[in-house]
Amino acid sequence: MEKMVGQRIKRKEDPKLITGNGMYLDDMKIPGLLHASIVRSPHPHANIVSIDKEKALKHPGVVAVYTGKDLEGKINPVPTSWKVPGMDLIETKQYPLAINTARYVGDGVAMVVADSKYTARDAAELIEVDYEVLPSIANQKEARKDGAPQIYDEVPGNVAFKYVAGEVTDEDLENAEVVMKGSYNTQRVAPSPMETRNSLAQYNPGSGDLKLYVGSQNPHIHRMVLSEVLNFPEHKLHVKVADMGGGFGGKIGVYPDEALVSYASMDLKRPVKWVETRNEHFQSANAGRDMMVDLELAGTKDGKITALRAVNHANIGAYLATFGPGNPTIDFGLMLSGAYKIEKAQCTTYGMYTNTMSVDSYRGAGKPEVTFMLERAVDDFARKINMDPIEVRRINFASKEEFPFTNAQGLIYDSGDYVKALDRAVEKSDYHALRQKQEELREEGRYIGIGISSYVELSGFGPSAVAGAIGFQGGIWENSTVRVHPGGTVTVYTGTSPHGQGHDTTFSQIVKDKLGIPYEDINFVFNDTRAVSMGWGTYGSRSLAVGGNAVGLATDKVVEKGRRIAAHLLEAEVEDIEFEEGVYSVRDDNSRRKTFQEIAKAANFAWSLPEGMEPGLEEQTFFDPSNFTYPFGTHIAVVEVDIETGEIEILRYIAVDDSGKIVNPTVAEGQILGGIAQGVGQALWEGVQYDEKGQLQSGSFMDYAMPKANFFPKIEMEFTETLSPVNQLGSKGVAESGTTGSIAAAANAVMDALAPLGVKHIELPLKPEKVWRAIQKGGAES
């Protein structure tokens, strides 16, 4: 029978979601349910002089009002979970409600709990907070200057951490034939899952159990961290995730809000629900990117890049987010040289406190930023030495014979064939014809641009020993239990936490191939800290590469135990038992056979098992991979810029990605497509805006440009398949590749279009007004 892995299987998840039978957090009702609303600071930086909650407390339907002072000593600060050794981190205290000082627009200062959500919001309006406004600052480079407003007394110069990875000396640069400098900044964006953040806490005063439903990509991390924040034991804290409407990194973080809701439920002994509004999401959900990068690139006139030296000013916001310190230092800093064999690379990162919302992982988490820097720089370098950008990439790529390949800063890439993906993209786009067409159109006064981006990603998190070495406060292995019921159907438990990625379908394909039982007989349980023993969640494109492989390995153990039972029942040697298509049989005598279902029953009944064997058919695996996986690819964008208006039209977009073994091409394509929309969105439209003092100016979808259907052409995509040697499937991450590859492709295309007009640089996002202004100034802009 044909294997299911590799097939386009329709998703198992969908029937309930397309019929309105999904159960998202806000769909849940519990008797006695209360609703919370959080009062947030309208100032970027202010002392809280007083809070008058009397009017709110008198409002009919209001059950409680909490302020930071009320909770002092009762809830601990929410910590970061990534402390890189050697970064001299100054971690400040993020109390769930600000006690004396609010440090960004959206910092919680009070919480109202009431009998309906309308009442809770009415009462929140009645809370009067007297603020003493303090000097404030939003820009991370400005924040490091002498005389800048100080956000914490204990953090001189607002530097939360400084971290240096790799070494490039002045001589390395001075002695080079070509030296180039440039600034490559990725602006702050909002992850913006369509379902905002939320939580529903239900404390049972009888059992002492606290059940918390929360919008989380990693419920076990939530349990671990909240247990500390709430002084509440892990074994009594049950964290669950309902159907969840996207995450994109925005729901990795453990936030003050879920701690507050949990506390209120314990204090009031009633269930409490909080659902963030979209406006609140822009204020108080972790943002992404916001890295200002100054790069020096050294190379030869014939196209070889010899050294990269970068200084990254990373805006980390007013408080450290859960993974905040790791993204600029590790994901960005250690991937500086990308897909290229460059001798030397150095990245110095300044993690800067500012009066803005915290910055955490957002789809790609450091890799899109570093790829944007590097691929924009490679194009600028190519232009400087007058060489085709495709050629510069080809000259500098690590070649496929060099894998496992150690990059300039010591990361070991598992496998790769960068030339193959580039060649396919060149061929698919008909690159050379495009260049010719571009020349012809320029004669007519039309400006099309061709942008290339060749990326490699650190994904599939990952080996736990490395997690320890880089200060990630947890493991990054994955666990799976395969439980076989007496009738032969199967329930599988694993610690990745899907919210749209289709794990139910793709993981079932893996199990189906191994057990040979009907696909419908396989069921999955995710997102539940009581059902799943332990797990580390879904981020870093790790679910298939780590979790999917854990599922496969646990299934193998089930097959092996079944083989021993079959040998016993068939009175044969274990080595002589074959297992195919769900049937155990004796080699050379197919009439002696037991179906998987028969073995399931025999194992569970335990009437006759091999000597010493325990009953049941249930196996667990903990899979800790030996390395990360490194997906790669080349994207080519073709745009036309209307130089009268600055408007950009994407004419074509070609994506060739390599994520190793693809389990379900349709699902993988969906991941790439969604990723591209977010990356191109960052390049052309999206951006969180603060004024210089930190007043938020983009508080809704009216001010924040989300990509829409008519912004894109049909994406021309395909996969090459270079297997990873570090897991059984040979799979790599896929979910972040589209984003990582696409920011630079789109931006390079625009800069390529404008090159003849003397425009060399425009800050992202490339909105028509900025493009138009740059065209007007011509070379003067750069």
Partner: protein, 167 residues
Amino acid sequence: MNNELVNVSITLNGEKVSAEVEPRMLLIHFIRDIMNATGSHIGCDTSQCGNCTILVDGRSTKSCTVLAVHADETEVITVEGIGTTENLHPIQKAFWEEHGLQCGYCTPGAMMASIDFLSQNPDPTDDEIREGLDGIICRCTGYEFIVNAVRSAAKMMNDDSAVKGEV
């Protein structure tokens, strides 16, 4: 604030329902919180995302933008009223077959908007579909497979009516 409750009666997915509610109550809250039809979702607070889109008297409507009282005496259809798992509406079938959803949160709104769009333009081009989806924000799919789904649903519905025409 006027706290006096008012009666709102609508036909929800073919069934007459009514309740006394605050006059300021949004239609989406009436449907979700009072009538427990939670298939329609809320994705923003400024009428951009269209995740709450339903049909009011046959036309697609962002139900976060309408007060429940405004919908009094109307016929409302939500995702729960277009098909069942045993008997899917062509738009549901097409979203499933074409992988038109990932997290599924915007999906009910996107499907309801598409039903109205196809009733206005039964044989659209891809560009017209992309324009027709302007009222919907989806963060997962990059829209391409939603476009494929709407095109596929159009074909199914056209083939369907062609068959019925012959009978």
